[in-house]
């Protein structure tokens, strides 16, 4: 399989200062193995675009401990105490974006659209400094598209072409992020032969996917655990 990448070779593809789109909602649909590699890579000044920064010490939360981050762009950081602390000490910039605006900005980034007008957040603090315009049914604000240098996504299965399907609501931001970065790396539980996933079941077509990495995590009792703690 041409797109197969070893986990230990992954972090060489990331540069200091890169903007990374990272899939996940909480810890669901999060590329945990790729994040672990970044945590030990020593990469600096990364900007993360993700709905939230995992949980304290888990998922993207690990990168707050290992000091790889300069900025986070997302919709919900209040439930990770490390993110709140890093922000209040001035060690982390945070750009807060409504969740639907975040998803649409990434979709536009992958679709060749420079920006879009939305009614979400009109008249709020999050609209300050943004262009506002009246359309037929009311006021809208301009939001710019978001693109990344690298997208790190999590899927359930890839086939040998790199076509992807997702596990339940682990899908979340992953399919749009797969469209919106220069380099796209998918962490998967399993790789199957091309043809095993039916064409009509494929969610992310292979043209979006540059590399596929097999997760080091094991799913037990519905939760991903690191192999060292797995029985």
């Amino acid at each position: 399989m041409k797109k197969l990448l070893k986990l230990e070779d992954f972090s060489e593809l990331i540069k200091d200062g890169d903007k990374l789109l990272v899939g996940g909602f909480g810890l669901s649909g999060t590329p945990l193995s790729l994040i672990d590699e970044i945590a030990i890579s020593g990469k600096k000044n990364l900007t993360i675009v993700s709905n939230n920064l995992g949980e304290k010490g888990k998922g993207l939360g690990k990168l707050l401990v290992s000091g790889n981050l300069k900025k986070a762009i997302g919709s919900y950081f209040t439930t990770n105490a490390d993110a709140v602390n890093a922000w209040s000490k001035g060690e982390l910039e945070i750009e807060l974006v409504p969740q639907g605006t975040l998803a649409e900005a990434i979709r536009c980034g992958g679709a060749g659209i420079g920006g879009f007008y939305t009614k979400t957040a009109v008249g709020t603090k999050l609209a300050e400094g943004k262009h506002q315009m009246a359309f037929d049914d009311g006021e809208y604000i301009l939001e710019k598209a978001i693109k990344g240098d690298v997208a790190l996504i999590k899927a359930l299965k890839a086939d040998t072409f790199g076509n992807l399907i997702y596990d339940q609501t682990g899908r979340n931001f992953n399919p749009v992020m797969a469209t919106a970065a220069r380099l796209v790396i998918a962490e998967v539980d399993e790789i199957v032969e091309a043809g095993e996933i039916k064409p009509e079941e494929i969610v992310t077509p292979h043209l979006f996917v540059d590399y596929v990495v097999v997760t080091k995590y094991v799913k037990q009792g519905g939760r991903y655990v690191e192999p060292t703690t797995a029985n």
Partner: protein, 217 residues
């Protein structure tokens, strides 16, 4: 007592649902509502990409890649569908949801809502609150009538940051149900043994009394 009051609010809001409706339930009191919709043919939408959300699974069936917007494990009902975040918010923003039930910090007398940030505290989380306020066809606010320290939440003017210019349609508290029409607030039901005078005392917002029925608890 407080939990009983929260359940009363949840039950009253469930009464509002009609068969066939697509409904999104926010965090807080709205998460109690699924226990009171049995027999109603409604479909629960979860912002993280699920239509047809079912109840909490048994521990042995938990999959943390099948969760609610509150990040709790859930199940799927027959006929459920799963989609990505951009389609999920297309549904929310595009007016495809019939009802959103949201918690709140404050509502003003025109129906403008503040439910995401408190002045003087870190503003680091908004989630899907503003998208739901902007896009759902009907917005019902589920809230205790005052905050824990008895500070009023139903005000003449918001003192906390607004969640958007779109006005809500209804407020249900442990004491009363209010409806909004043309940015005016109407008291339509009393749900507790509170007197109208006392209700007025804890409700700085101006409202007209237009009681259709008295439902004393």
């Amino acid at each position: 007592m407080s939990q009983q009051q929260r359940i009363k609010i949840a039950q009253r809001i469930a009464d509002e649902f009609e068969d066939g409706q697509i409904i999104n339930l926010g965090v807080g009191i709205p998460t109690l509502i699924p226990d009171y919709i049995e027999g109603k043919d409604v479909y629960l939408h979860s912002e993280n990409g699920l239509l047809g959300m079912g109840p909490t699974p048994e521990e042995k069936s938990v999959n943390m890649d099948l969760i609610s917007a509150s990040k709790q494990p859930v199940t799927v009902e027959t006929g459920a569908s799963i989609f990505d975040s951009s389609d999920s918010f297309l549904m929310i923003r595009g007016g495809h949801l019939d009802v959103a039930v949201l918690g709140t910090l404050q509502v003003d007398e025109t129906g403008e809502v503040a439910n995401w940030a408190v002045p003087g505290q870190n503003i680091l989380g908004v989630g899907g609150a503003m998208d739901l306020v902007a896009g759902a066809k009907k917005i019902i606010i589920a809230t205790m009538h005052t905050s824990k320290d008895s500070t009023p939440k139903l005000l003449r003017k918001l003192t906390f940051p607004s969640s958007g210019i779109r006005k809500v349609n209804m407020i249900v508290t442990e004491h009363a149900v209010f409806e909004f029409k043309d940015e005016k607030m109407f008291l339509i039901e009393v749900l507790s043994d509170i007197s109208l005078e006392k209700l007025k005392d804890i409700t700085p917002a101006n409202y007209e009394v237009s009681i259709k029925k008295l439902v004393r608890a």
